[in-house]
Amino acid sequence: MVDEVRIGVYICHCGKNIGGVISPKRVAEHVSRFPNVVVASDYLYMCSSPGQALIEEDIRKHNLNRVIVAACSPRMHEPTFQAAVARGGLNPYLLEMVNIREHATWVHEHEPEEAERKVIGLIRAAVERARHLYPLEVAKFPVVKSVLVIGGGIAGIRASLDLAKAGFKVYLVERKQSIGGRMAQLDKTFPTLDCSQCILTPMMVDVANHPNIELIAYSEVEEIDGRPGDFKVKIKMKPRYVDWDKCTGCGTCVEKCPWRVPSEFDEGLGYRKAIYFEFPQAIPRRPVIDPEHCLYLTKGICRVCERFCPVGAIMFEDKPRYVEVNVGAIIVATGYDLYDMTKLHEYGYGRYRNVITGMQLERLSSAGGPTGGRITTIEYERGRFKPGKTPKTVALILCAGSRDERHVRYCCRIGCMAALKHAYYIAHALPDSKIIICYTDIRAFGKGFEEFYQRIRSLPNVYFIRGRPMEIIENKDGSLTFDVYDSNINRMIRVTADLVVLETALVPPKGFEELRQKLKISCDPGGFGLELHPKLKPVETTVDGIYLAGFIQGPKDIPDTVAHAGAAAAAAASFLAKGYVESTPYLATVDEDICSGCALCVSVCPYDAISIVVKDGKRVAQVDSVKCKGCGACAGTCPSGAMQQHYFTDRQIMAEVAALAEGVVA
């Protein structure tokens, strides 16, 4: 540091966000007295063009060689001000940001004096740190122009098609036998009531036919390696026991298989065979054998499918296979699961046969469902579902498990509209029935939702009760009784219904936690994937090149899911289209004179970026700057201080820490 350090400090008002709590002017006056501070100014919005211009001009005018911006979080505007500093002719890493909004004025609004003192303290620490900054360079790497999409629901389908059409190679991994996701299970879709399968199937076919899409069904992501722009993904293809290359999808095997199993697709109400397609319109149209139920694979008898297959595609000795793909970006579109309703003990799901979920009602109402579209009560004959009688009264209970501190805290964002739709199904199919909707609030905020709500409200046989039952009791005939207090009419109502439908809470799908950890992306308190910014970066994640699409980012209906998936595809496309990614500038670096070659750093580096080499007869550590991701673990471990991390050197951090610890005298 031969040159004199000349620092400019800029304090942002952020409108009233900062300026309404402390006085940036006073702060500027105070910090202008700090050593090396050549100029200190305040401005209403530093991130605005005139704000940035101020920095650029000052660099030239005052010959600044360090810039400190005290404003919002560096996670928000660091790139903005780095660019400004660069335009002013300085290396962007000579900028230091001080977070006085998120870390001070927003959280100490009611202690303005303390807040101001803290702000001055933070800036002082930044000044101390800034003295030790030095210019850094950023390396560029080429990206691989292909994308992995995980999850083949409507979100994954839409994102895959968008990217494929834009010319990117897409690998679509779906863990079930077929793509389609939850939307394939729905009968109709609110608020327009289009037939779900009818609008979905053409898109599924497009996926199958698009030359840029490689559909890898019945598979899951096993391992992820590499870095943004160049991920290496190992995919596990579960054993299918059918040679999909030979198979023509004729379905003879499915027809002949003697063994029936409750169908996941029909939510346990219908049946599928041990060799099966997920549902009749499945894509790809290639069956798999369920090894847990197949008679041959469990008991060594049968082999009927093998006998009837005209092309000899059955292969009982199938093993998992692994493929590796190399992609530049990843889109996560793994959707949701229903919350386990047996946990909501008071409603008796799992104990009372006529308490069902909304998704089960979708299957009962579907022409392709287990009752051929007849809505009936639930009967079991020797453990097997069979359609019961026509219900006279059906009760729908909203927020079942949602908005509940003991279960799922957030709103499912679907249940209200789904309940209205379900009321329509029943009212339409059974005009003589009574439909009771027990709601807390009807949240009808989407396009066309209020109109839909009106339409359902106007049905004479739909009754809205503003109240939630506490407990449901099963009667001897299988019908159900509960009391519910209607706070609209201030009356307790005793409801006896033949069928109770729970509009269930919706949660991240099984296995997402493990997938998320493989991807190194964060999650929100509900377990969904965490977007980078709740307003402005709704599809980005904390990892560059990994994006969220659809329900997995948080509850969404189909229109929102599709819009979100489109945005994810666009974000991935723009990431790849640029052609390169920049490496982190915060790389580790060794001072070979000090390094003792102890290799402690080697053991902590998560990316194997450090090796010990012999230089001039001395063992020293060497960092591979392509592999290094800039965590600083090595620097934190190195006993001699030989290993340092750019922008986070011991000197820089120590200077900051010491200043903060000393504090400022008011």
Partner: protein, 291 residues
């Protein structure tokens, strides 16, 4: 095992049958009971002054700690009250300090971590269902008996409860071991209404009556409970329930769990205080051939 028999208020002033059957039955299993007359646990006073309630419970915990034995609380109310007191004392250091300062005048300085047990737990978890089964000499054959756990045996779940709120089965398991049939019925974990009795007597009795109606509807021959309040509502108030609800068919024998155990062990109904039960218990006794 040796326990402090803490009877609370209702049992030693009124529900004598419970006390008799407790004192008669537990020694048969080698369980010794030491009298622990400490008066009211404070439960009914919680609504008048929470601290007074805590004081009364805290005092009992401190006294028990000195005696060095677990407390056996046959009353569901006492049981939950002491557990809640314990929880508040643990969670609120200033409350704990305040209570200790009040107790100093009695020479009490610690609450310790006193174990609190309910007879249902002693039967089910300490003695064990198998052991009980092995001691039955007069199985309660041919009887279908409903269990009424009572709210405070299973709620609130933010303090430990003797049985599970979601699916209370302990009493049923014990009764099954005695040779009777058991079964679930709607709102098994429902309330007897006792707490309302002093303020809204008719309404309270309606609550108890509703339970009896359901149990009769589900074909039970008798019902058993292990709480003196529940007993009062289901048994002593059964006649009143007839008048208030106008349902003259209300008629269901009610027993303390301890009484049923005693009967199955071949004990004399009088020794178990069964003649103090006001519901039509004779029906059952006849069936068992002990009348």
């Amino acid at each position: 095992m040796r326990y402090l028999l803490y009877l609370g208020c209702v049992i030693p002033t009124k529900q004598y049958a419970y006390e008799m059957s407790l004192r008669a039955v537990f020694p048969k299993f080698g369980i010794e009971l030491e009298d622990f007359n400490e008066g009211c646990c404070g439960f009914p006073l919680k609504g008048v002054n929470k601290k007074a309630w805590i004081y009364m419970g805290a005092r009992i915990l401190a006294r028990a700690y000195e005696r060095g034995l677990p407390i056996l609380t046959p009353c569901n109310g006492c049981n939950v009250s002491l557990f809640e007191t314990k929880r508040f004392l643990e969670e609120d250091p200033s409350l704990r300090a305040e209570m200790l300062s009040l107790l100093r005048s009695e020479g009490l300085y610690h609450f310790g971590d006193v174990e609190i047990l309910h007879p249902v737990e002693v039967f089910h978890d300490v003695i064990g269902v198998e052991k009980i089964k092995s001691m039955v000499v007069k199985p309660l054959k041919g009887l279908r008996i409903a269990s009424h756990p009572g709210c405070h045996l299973i709620r609130p779940t933010n303090v430990p409860r003797p049985d599970n709120n979601v699916n209370p089965q302990k009493i049923d398991n014990i009764v099954r071991a005695l040779g009777a049939e058991v079964g679930d019925y709607p709102d098994k974990g429902g309330c007897c209404g006792a707490t309302m009795l002093p303020f809204h007597p008719e309404s309270a009795i309606k609550v108890g009556a509703e339970k009896i109606v359901v149990m009769m509807d589900y074909g039970f021959d008798a019902v058993t409970t292990s709480c003196p309040y529940c007993m009062e509502m289901l048994d002593a108030k059964q006649d009143a329930a007839k008048t208030i609800t106008g349902n003259m068919d209300l008629s269901l024998p009610v027993f303390y769990l301890t009484q049923l155990v005693g009967l199955a062990l071949g004990m004399d109904p009088k020794e178990l205080g069964i003649h103090l039960n006001l519901s039509p218990v004779d029906l059952v006794l006849e069936k068992l051939g002990v009348l």
